[in-house]
């Protein structure tokens, strides 16, 4: 277990040393969402209806934006070899790296989204629902995107390829995440959507680390 904690601590420390990387991602999220009211126009009813979908899409793009460096940095400086050689399972290393990624992107996105939601005229209970769905949904985005990052390791134009691979895989999370917030207006059961979102996250935790480890071993060859 100490190896996993060490890896997370190392990654968080590296991110802390370069706060610009995270700031750019969060700034992208803010700018991208703020563009929508400007493009659509100041119709409060319309904005409030589409807000959840827009914020969820922007959160998805923002988390993918930062994922291409998840394994690439380790691959380029040779520390990936040290991870492959560590005397504990690589699956846990992949999980630890995604967890560190979630702490610095998914978590701040979930906190930022309700604040931006105010600008869209979302009612208070929707804001809370939005934060909850993002809290449960963003780990899936980090893990799925992590797999795409591992698969595109060493490829040219890996950033675009990563998005192309990860976006379709993130569709269920997007549907149920944005859908859960919508239920508050349509009167459907919020808990059902949330349960499906949580189930998707659990499936990702249970499967993605193995797939990532296999992709990383392949990249190490």
């Amino acid at each position: 277990m100490s190896g996993i904690a060490a890896l997370m601590a190392r990654d968080l420390r590296l991110i802390w040393r370069r706060p610009g990387d995270v700031t750019v991602v969060l700034a992208f999220f803010v700018v991208a969402t703020v563009l929508f009211p400007l493009g659509i126009g100041p119709e409060t009813n319309l904005l409030a209806r589409v807000a959840a979908g827009i914020l969820w899409c922007a959160a998805l793009f923002a988390s993918l934006l930062s994922l291409d460096r998840l394994f690439a940095a380790d691959y380029e400086d040779g520390t990936l070899d040290l991870l492959l050689l560590a005397p504990w399972p690589l699956e846990l290393a992949a999980l630890a790296k995604c967890a560190a990624h979630w702490i610095v992107t998914g978590l701040p996105l979930a906190i930022l989204a309700p604040i931006l939601g105010v600008a869209f005229g979302l009612p208070q209970e929707n804001l809370l629902a939005l934060a909850v769905t993002l809290l449960i949904g963003t780990p899936t985005l980090s893990l799925t995107g992590g797999l795409a990052a591992a698969l595109t390791l060493g490829a040219r134009r890996s950033g675009a390829l990563l998005a192309l691979l990860a976006l379709p895989l993130c569709v269920p999370t997007l549907i149920f995440g944005a859908g859960a917030v919508e239920t508050l207006t349509t009167g459907e059961e919020f808990a059902t959507y949330l349960a499906i979102l949580a189930a998707l996250a659990l499936v990702a935790v249970a499967t993605m680390p193995w797939a990532m480890a296999a992709a990383l071993r392949q990249a190490g060859e």
């Binding site: 190896g3 400086d77 492959l84 050689l85």
Partner: protein, 209 residues
């Protein structure tokens, strides 16, 4: 006579559809240094990566203390220190933090005085707090070698360890190497340069076509 610690039998590896080596058999015992020589592309790095289980060999077995390393790869991994052609250092961490982080990744917590010892061995004490990205190539290599020394692993797998090192650093490396061998360690190194140890055994890998 005791059996060799590391026993390689009929090892074959393929890279990009081409067989780099085939039916390679050798054994390395405690306190032995095996130098891999051969032209560019003769498979020195591939052999080292196969020994570290980073590359899956096509055929053959690698035995450590009589056991196939595929059966219990984690015990084998815990016993090797790796120096690839990349240094394996994080530019944003200091020299000392890099050494500490590498050991922690192996699940160990080295005491401060051992880190100091590894820093002294490669004359890095004055650079300990400096971020690695501000170091020269030779200083980075010295840091990577200090990481190998710190690991206290019995098996060192080194790919071109003398790369970018000045003569003082090369001497420091030779001293660390001899100490490791005297202590019963085992070293396999791929190099074009002369490591300067008369006891070294050489393994010539086939020339590239």
């Amino acid at each position: 006579m005791t059996p060799p610690l590391l026993d390689i039998a009929d090892l074959a590896c393929r890279r990009g559809g081409r067989k780099v080596f085939d039916r390679l058999s050798f054994a390395v015992g405690a306190g032995e240094l095996l130098v891999l020589v051969g032209r560019n592309g003769s498979g020195k790095t591939t052999l080292l990566r196969a020994l570290a289980l980073l590359v899956r060999p096509e055929a053959g077995t690698i035995r450590w203390q009589g056991r196939d390393i595929q059966i219990d790869p984690e015990t084998w991994r815990a016993g090797i220190a790796w120096l690839g052609h990349l240094d394996g250092l994080k530019g944003d961490l200091s020299v000392r933090e890099n050494l500490l982080a590498a050991e922690r990744l192996r699940g160990l917590r080295p005491p401060e005085d051992r880190i100091d010892g590894a820093l002294v061995a490669f004359d890095l004490t004055a650079l300990a707090a400096r971020p690695v990205r501000a170091l020269s190539a030779g200083q980075r290599r010295r840091t990577a070698l200090a990481r190998v020394l710190l690991s206290q692993a019995p098996v060192w797998l080194l790919d071109e360890p003398l790369n970018a090192l000045d003569s003082a650093a090369q001497d420091a490396f030779r001293i660390a190497l001899s100490h490791h061998l005297v202590a019963g360690g085992l070293v396999i190194a791929a190099t074009h340069a002369d490591l300067g140890l008369p006891t070294a055994r050489r393994l010539e890998l086939g020339a590239a076509p």
